[in-house]
Symmetry: C2
């Protein structure tokens, strides 16, 4: 998942059929905190997230971390480049994954339908990343957090008591490393949103949307 511009969100349902066409590989399960692959590993499988959440990370030598993307159910992770993984992939919760053999999507040998879907997924990935650049390069802390909450809501939001709400399966540090901020700043923005009654926090890992339109205004800079 990236923070994509409204209107560019893409339906991910088409991945649903993937498993029907492929000679099924057994589902992979991963405990929270364990790694699916690491930067530099040769790519043997790519994975569709079925349930749970993973993060794609890159590290600098001095410890600075950037989370490239969160892998939510429906997302494809493990795009190879020159046959290698280019990020670490870590489970943030118990995760179920549907693996695919690289040969199934190979440009020459693979199933034409499957590799068509793979190509489309790669192109959608590029478009989503392009949106995300705008956020990292040009948006304020408040805009980033608001945009993030809305992006998560669009993907995994639920209705409860007539209100939209969303689970934050990741830590504040993960959110910060995804948005290019610090945990303190993320925490402060969330507190401020809570104090101004835009959201409510139902425990640490659940956000209830009280005034979605205010959040949308904040996310796009039309706040004041």
């Amino acid at each position: 998942m990236y923070v994509t511009h409204a209107g560019h969100a893409f339906d991910t349902s088409e991945f649903a059929q993937w498993s029907e066409r492929a000679p099924a590989l057994p589902e992979t399960r991963l405990e929270a905190g364990t790694h699916l692959f690491r930067e530099g590993d040769p790519v043997e499988r790519i994975y569709k997230v079925v349930t749970g959440v993973v993060s794609l990370n890159r590290l600098l030598e001095d410890g600075r971390r950037q989370i490239i993307a969160f892998g939510l159910p429906g997302d494809l992770v493990g795009f190879p480049s020159n046959g290698r993984h280019h990020t670490d992939c870590e489970a943030l919760s118990l995760v179920r994954l549907q693996p695919f053999r690289l040969s199934q999507i190979d440009c020459r040998t693979g199933d034409p339908e499957l590799r068509g879907r793979f190509m489309e997924a790669a192109l959608r990935e590029i478009a989503a990343m392009q949106d995300h650049f705008m956020m990292l390069g040009r948006k304020s802390a408040a805009e980033r957090v608001a945009s993030f909450l809305l992006a998560l809501e669009a993907r995994t939001g639920q209705d409860r008591d007539g209100r939209r709400q969303v689970d934050l399966p990741m830590s504040r540090a993960d959110i910060a490393d995804f948005l290019g901020l610090t945990t303190e700043t993320v925490s402060r923005v969330l507190s401020q949103l809570r104090k101004s009654r835009v959201i409510a926090l139902d425990g640490i890992h659940r956000v209830v949307f009280l005034r979605g339109e205010a959040l949308r205004a904040l996310a796009t800079g039309n706040c004041g």
Copy 2:
């Protein structure tokens, strides 16, 4: 071009053969300042930059701009997503481009060799963008500018008088919008690098590398 981590730079020479295999479409020429396509346009062609430089831009309603990437000779621009362009593409100089029909790379109908190369190009694009995230999210202004100069040098650097040098075909504002900074900050960092004899400026659009290792240290944060 993105600011990619050293060791993840990819050879772009394989695009060189593209034009040999395809029933050639006539080369496209573009004046500096003109647009090749705009966000939302239906994608009819994708282009390989032959000479010159283009920028891929996204705009926010309030005028904030992010340059997603620079298209240097050898780069492919115009990756479609849902059949649409997802960025504006603007020529920064006189540009020559080799167009390809979408049908040539289509997953079903296209030339297998060509679509294989296209797939690889898309996957390399993803990997390069992942590197770039680290820069926008986690690097300081000086680190960004240093990394940018090195990335450009790796792609278009030349030797002269026993020194590496590189042309900056874009304005300071373009560099700023690419790195997520302001023109003032870019200018200040360049001035500081000049004062500390790490680089020399030969006119506004040419940088001479005096101490490449110092630049490399700066770019990776191993400076002090």
